[in-house]
């Protein structure tokens, strides 16, 4: 990294928007730090635009193996308790969550 990049920054409004899309509550200090760091990273990543990718199919998984499917059968394998005991809040056999609407 060239240290020169640290002065540049992503628009704070843009950072706020991305934090919102990411469902992350960030402090002003965090947002300012990310603005500078992400700008430096993205500037370095601009190098990709120079690669000719016209007509190239994106590669989303690296092997040629076809995905195997299995029978969609219900299998009773788990107790409920180990799952519920990890819940931050529960009510009997239910997960307790904040009001949704």
């Amino acid at each position: 990294m060239t240290k020169d990049n640290s002065n540049k920054s992503l628009d704070l409004a843009a950072v706020r928007k991305v934090a919102e899309l990411s469902r992350l509550e960030l402090t002003e200090t965090e947002m300012k730090a990310y603005a500078g760091q992400l700008a430096a990273v993205l500037e370095n990543f601009e190098q990709l635009q120079a690669v000719d990718t016209k007509g190239i199919e994106p590669l989303v998984t690296p092997t040629d193996l076809s995905v195997r499917l299995r029978e969609d059968e219900a299998v009773k394998t788990k107790d409920i308790e180990p799952f519920l005991s990890n819940a931050p809040a529960r009510s009997g056999n239910l997960f307790k969550v904040p009001p949704v609407v």
């Binding site: 990294m1 760091q37 990718t53 590669l59």
Partner: protein
């Protein structure tokens, strides 16, 4: 083998043989390594959680032996398991505050296979939070120290597994590798570490970081141990549809150190990178050792690997942003207790803001940005296209060579705190390892020498998809040729 001093230095294979031959009990072995953890880990900080049932598991192995039953291919071998793999009933944190109290209802397939083979899970090892990092400084339980010099990082993200192994707190370890997280710490800690071909090992029960890149693999003190551990954990799994149905060779029985006539490719771009003098010297010595044994050295070219870091960080963070969306504080994981309005939105954002560490949040932000409307084509899509071109380059390169050799990293281990405030510099350190994951190829770090300061340095081997056999052969040839490398011991022991 019954002497304690021997046990610390023993390989997994030697321990397995001694346990099966009743020269030592599985319980004695487990007690020995547990005692080492108690004595050494306060200085290293490699373990997050110890398995209180380890001695019980070891006794079960002894019971099988006493009854004349087959105790398995890893009978009584204690293992350090990265805290990214779920262990039923044993806390699994991903080194994150988000999962500080998470107790998995099931185990990862890798863990099930190890335990079915008689291995004993000693404990769970520290990592960079959610496997995001190259130094093991981003861990909820604090930085892990390199046993070769505690002022230095052990590498990451599987830094706890590497440090535990290097300090001989366990004879074998499991790591995961998304962009170098097994190979880089293996290099920094003087270990053998293998990232298998994508699909070789089931990802079921491994906390997801980037699903098209993640693979688990072994770290050990010999090629043969890596082979033994990998053949135990490999193979198709009903719960991971990307796990390959390809046959798993019995590597521990078939590997041989014969490299006569084998074509070893040196990518000129890897050697053009700015590189530490010690790394360059050690890499050249490894190349010379293979040449001496009859390997044919060929120059190859991989022009697009210079873009591997941006491609990797765009793909990995995009997948991470999606994968980590599951941590919403509802069914498990951290939920904020700081309620203002009590709205669902507030609970989501505040729980995530509190539960994730700085690097994880940074990567979620980067990934969300790369996937967001208006930027998707320029970032995620573009990176995925270049990813295909990088894979194609490797496939072409393997027409003129059988194995590719390169450095693992541009430098040996760096000092704790040295790079933590400069994310881009930390990312750029992954230049040699990330392309392997992008292409889905197997890669391995083999101990090859030391820096002037005495820190270990590994070399990287890469082969065609599912050709781990040839990689192990070359690793064994290097191991035998560079015998003096293994003779050194970290300062801590």
């Amino acid at each position: 083998m019954s002497q304690i001093s021997d046990l610390s230095q023993a390989t997994c294979t030697e321990i397995r043989d001694a346990v099966r031959a009743k020269k030592v009990s599985a319980l004695e072995v487990t007690k020995h390594f547990s005692a080492r953890i108690k004595a050494l880990d306060p200085k290293i900080n490699a373990f997050v959680t110890l398995n209180e049932k380890a001695e019980l598991a070891a006794s079960n192995v002894d019971g099988k032996i006493a009854r004349g039953e087959d105790p398995g291919a890893l009978a009584g071998v204690p293992m350090a398991v990265k805290d990214l793999l779920c262990t039923k009933g044993l806390k699994t944190t991903a080194s994150s505050k988000m999962l500080a109290n998470f107790i998995p209802p099931y185990s990862a397939t890798v863990v099930n296979r190890l335990e079915a083979a008689g291995a004993v899970t000693l404990g769970k090892t520290s990592l960079d939070e959610f496997a995001m990092g190259s130094s093991n400084e981003n861990a909820a339980t604090g930085p892990v120290k390199n046993p070769w010099d505690p002022e230095y990082v052990p590498g990451g993200s599987s830094g706890g597994s590497a440090a535990a192994l290097a300090a001989r707190m366990a004879p074998g370890a499991i790591g995961t590798d998304t962009g170098g997280s097994i190979r880089q710490p293996a290099s920094f800690c003087g270990l053998f570490g293998i990232k298998p071909t994508y699909g070789r090992v089931s990802r079921y029960g491994i906390i997801a970081f980037a699903s098209s890149l993640d693979q688990a693999g072994p770290m050990a003190h010999s090629t043969k141990d890596c082979a033994l551990l990998l053949e135990t954990i490999s193979g198709s799994c009903a719960y991971d549809s990307t796990s390959a149905t390809i046959e798993v060779p019995k590597w521990s029985e078939i590997i041989k150190d014969d490299v006569k006539g084998l074509r070893v490719g040196l990518p000129k771009e890897y050697f053009a990178e700015k590189m530490d003098g010690d790394v360059e010297r050690v890499t050249k010595e490894a190349i010379a050792a293979l040449k001496d044994r009859g390997a044919i050295i060929v120059d190859i070219t991989l022009p697009l690997v210079k873009h591997a870091v941006p491609v990797y960080y765009l793909v990995a963070t995009s997948e991470a942003a999606s994968n980590l969306a599951r941590y919403d504080g509802m069914r498990y994981g951290h939920r904020t207790s700081n309620i203002t309005t009590g709205s669902l939105e507030e609970v989501y954002t505040r729980s995530r803001g509190e539960g994730f560490g700085a690097e994880v949040k940074r990567r979620i932000m980067l990934g969300t940005y790369a996937l967001s409307s208006g930027y998707y084509d320029a970032y995620y899509q573009k990176a995925s296209q270049v990813r295909r071109l990088i894979r194609n380059e490797f496939l072409s390169a393997f027409e003129s060579c059988d194995v590719i050799l390169s450095p693992v990293c541009t430098s040996p281990a760096f000092k704790i705190g040295e790079r933590i405030n400069d994310p881009l510099e930390m990312y750029l350190n992954d230049i040699f390892t990330t392309s392997t994951n992008l292409a889905g190829l197997p890669g391995m770090s083999v101990p090859a020498g030391y820096s002037a300061k005495g820190l270990p340095i590994g070399v990287q081997l890469m082969t065609r998809h599912f050709d781990e056999t040839r990689m192990f052969n070359v690793s064994l040839a290097l191991e035998n040729a560079l015998g003096a490398v293994k003779a050194r011991r970290p300062h801590v022991i």
